[in-house]
Symmetry: C2
Subunit: 257 residues, 2 copies
Amino acid sequence: MRIVILGAGNVATHLAKAMDENCGNVVQVYSHTLKNAVSLAQTLRNAKPIDDFSNVTRDADLYVISVKDDAISTVVDAIDVDAGIVVHTSGSVSVDVLNRKFEKSGVLYPLQTFSRDVAVDISAIPFFVEGCNEITSSLITDVAKRLSHRIYYADSAQRKQLHVAAVFGCNFVNYLWIQADEILKEAGYDFKILEPLILATLDKAVRVSPLKGQTGPARRGDIGIINTHKRLLTLDKATLYQMLSQCIMKKYDIDYE
Amino acid sequence: MRIVILGAGNVATHLAKAMDENCGNVVQVYSHTLKNAVSLAQTLRNAKPIDDFSNVTRDADLYVISVKDDAISTVVDAIDVDAGIVVHTSGSVSVDVLNRKFEKSGVLYPLQTFSRDVAVDISAIPFFVEGCNEITSSLITDVAKRLSHRIYYADSAQRKQLHVAAVFGCNFVNYLWIQADEILKEAGYDFKILEPLILATLDKAVRVSPLKGQTGPARRGDIGIINTHKRLLTLDKATLYQMLSQCIMKKYDIDYE
């Protein structure tokens, strides 16, 4: 299988390496910055770096568009393919943006955050596959199965839900960790001391469920502790504390007096 | 070292076993429910189960009060000790509740959530020590060091801050995981699919910092995606999404139009 990678960012970098090892030959790496294409191509077995869309080969088997969401349509407009499959890797963009031009198109969305220089175990990452039709979907699934043992199907609507869930479960969670970090720093501690407790909370959420794993003053309806905590906090943090405590008490039908 | 454990709940159970293995002999286990005292004592080498405070020996070296916060003072009133150290294990209760009666008193607070039947690696748990004076503090630290390699000092004010940080970093975080779980379920997925992404987010927060690790639509100021997501959500979830997005944009000085 001859593969073309379009993009040289974090996702493109990790996918290109994994695909070159497990799925076939990455023959070209495109980036609009040649330097980036070169440095990614160097890590692969036999890939040509290019920075001009007109040099993209027409006869590869798989084209992986892994660029910023709003640059996907630019790539679509700029390339022509004979018979290969064209996929993008975005959680938020519909497959239709590819569908309107390419016969075989789809999505290969890894639900993970990538940093260029941090190695990740691709095989443990959940990949979500969509194809413009069943045959294409199953071809993309075959590729995905060589990358990871966690392959799921997700149409564009489901991918949007996955993205929203990740915003709650990771982005918003990280914002709460910022609050915890600031409180800990003020008391002279490092955020790291919370790690074992966070891991135990996550473990319980995964093994049982977050709904059953909820603990804390709000879950117990302990208004005394809630008020003590609010007095310790700056106005912004106290407002957030109050709001989230009320959400939890509402969820579990606990009266807030 | 002769140790008396007062309480037979989750914390008492895990501490009793670890202390019996690493710190000395647990000679008595008190619970107001004899059955619970018996079943904990059975897992220890040579501990007597008791349910009557008048049977608590006066001449142990260490008394560990590990009961619900509002039951601590009841235990304090009910027991008499000759010269041993008396500690409680609560994050929210001041050492003064012991101080007023016992000569050597302190706190040994494990920052972890315990489930009775789930084994935990005690040696990785951060313990926070306080003593009523320096000598007692250093004696309690000696005991703690036999349990874990993560021993910190925390006075009552610091312990309160630790507790607030844990509410943000674990209890409130778990509530957001409930939201993610519900969204995923609706789309046909299990909460488990988010685990790799959450672990990567936590890893970045611990290795770098949550402030630097923040990603997502709000961090990018991507109002388009924020509005799309809000339309996908129920009113309660959309309100929470909006509020947390605004917090993040405020934190990073991003204009919300």
